[in-house]
């Protein structure tokens, strides 16, 4: 499903995923400047496949997806995936596609909005994720809203001559910081 518009602080908001923005997501993932901790930088990014994936995302009952907007411009994406509605657990993820905007707190605010929505609107019990251990910015952004380390997956992937570990985190409504 597609998430509703959530307006946050400092010009950051989560906006419903559109096909136009979804096509942007694919383009961002292919750029080396933002791919250090990301995937293989190849895939089927034809318009036809992108439209099919967009339809699947939109119709999915087990994921919720947003584009991250900064000053009303799309700059990344986030969501909760593989939601199990019996366990009320899901895996979260985030990607900032504009490296020129790194360090402005956009991810922190996007994660706060997403996590708040998970507790207050989706009535989830738990969210969890995997983050490259060396991606301190992302790890810190998750920790700020209550994610705590549950494990470390060493030598997860090899890139530019060295092994990268992955940090595994989990969060619950009671670990979310008091907003009042």
């Amino acid at each position: 499903m597609i998430g509703p518009k959530l307006v946050g602080q400092n010009g950051v908001s989560l906006v419903p995923l559109t096909l136009e923005n979804f096509k942007l997501h694919g383009r961002w993932m292919l750029q080396p400047e933002v791919g250090r901790f990301w995937g293989p930088r190849f895939g089927d990014f034809t318009d036809e496949s992108t439209e099919k994936r967009y339809t699947e995302f939109s119709e999915s009952n087990t994921s919720i997806n947003w584009t991250i907007a900064y000053l009303d411009e799309p700059v990344g994406f986030t969501g909760i995936f593989d939601i199990d509605w019996v366990r009320r657990d899901g895996e979260s993820g985030i990607f900032i596609g504009r490296h020129d905007l790194f360090g402005r707190g956009i991810a922190s605010e996007a994660i706060r909005l997403r996590t708040d929505f998970a507790w207050r609107e989706l009535r989830m019990h738990r969210v969890h994720n995997w983050v490259a251990h060396a991606n301190r910015g992302s790890r810190r952004a998750n920790e700020k809203v209550g994610y705590k380390q549950m494990g470390l997956f060493v030598r997860s992937f090899f890139r530019s001559g060295e092994w990268y570990d992955e940090w595994l985190g989990e969060a619950y409504p009671h670990t979310f910081p008091d907003q009042h």
């Binding site: 293989p40 019996v86 366990r87 009320r88 657990d89 019990h125 738990r126 969890h128 549950m150 494990g151 470390l152 997956f153 060493v154 997860s156 992937f157 090899f158 595994l168 989990e170 619950y172």
Partner: protein, 194 residues
């Protein structure tokens, strides 16, 4: 889904799954003993739905399904996912018929499967996830050489309460240390490549 070929253990065999197995899969998914031990692969459904699932999952290229036999009788199935990069494999399902528990089938088939993964596919590591109170499965995994790398709290829900989950991994180095004598094929003869 890719359908797995034959892997022989001492008392068990992983083999190509066929449509005739689906009715038994369905029965296991409806068995509360199985559901207590681990997550279901699919919820119970009518035969036509299982056939549709079988057809659909055949399209997934990175996932492998095996049926497991012992004494020429279907006693379980296994499902795993080959990583698209990085030489890894996730064991997602490892189901043994509850009526066949405590006969050593789980240990035997697990060893055979891991021999295939490390000795034949030459993979770097294998991971799995278990409910923290599934002591039988944990015992098999520990004996094989798995170690815990993460512990999730209150992950699975059943019988009115949450239960934790442990994430485990086994690396090729561990396989070689513990099971280097387990080989599918004997070493090549010295003159074989002359």
């Amino acid at each position: 889904m890719a359908l797995g070929g034959t892997i022989r253990g001492k008392s068990t065999t992983l083999r190509l799954p066929v449509e005739a197995d689906l009715e038994t899969y369905n029965r296991w998914m409806a068995d509360m003993r199985v559901r207590r031990a681990h997550s279901v692969w699919h919820e119970p459904a009518m035969p036509a739905t299982w056939k549709e699932r079988f057809k659909e999952i055949a399209k997934e290229k990175q996932t492998v399904l095996w049926s497991i036999d012992a004494a020429e009788k279907l006693i379980g199935f296994a499902v795993g996912h080959v990583w698209p990069m990085g030489g890894g494999f996730d064991v997602n399902q490892f189901v043994v018929d509850p009526d066949e528990w405590r006969k050593g089938h789980g240990s035997d088939v697990a060893l055979a499967l891991h021999r295939y993964l490390f000795d034949y596919l030459d993979l770097r590591l294998v991971t799995t996830e278990l409910r923290a109170d599934n002591t039988a499965a944990l015992k098999i995994a520990t004996k094989l050489g798995y170690t815990e790398f993460a512990h999730g709290h209150e992950v699975h829900y059943r019988e009115g309460a949450y239960v934790d989950e442990v994430k485990l991994r086994m690396d090729k180095e561990t396989w070689q240390e513990r099971w280097s004598n387990e080989r599918e094929y004997s070493p090549l003869a010295a003159e074989a490549t002359r």
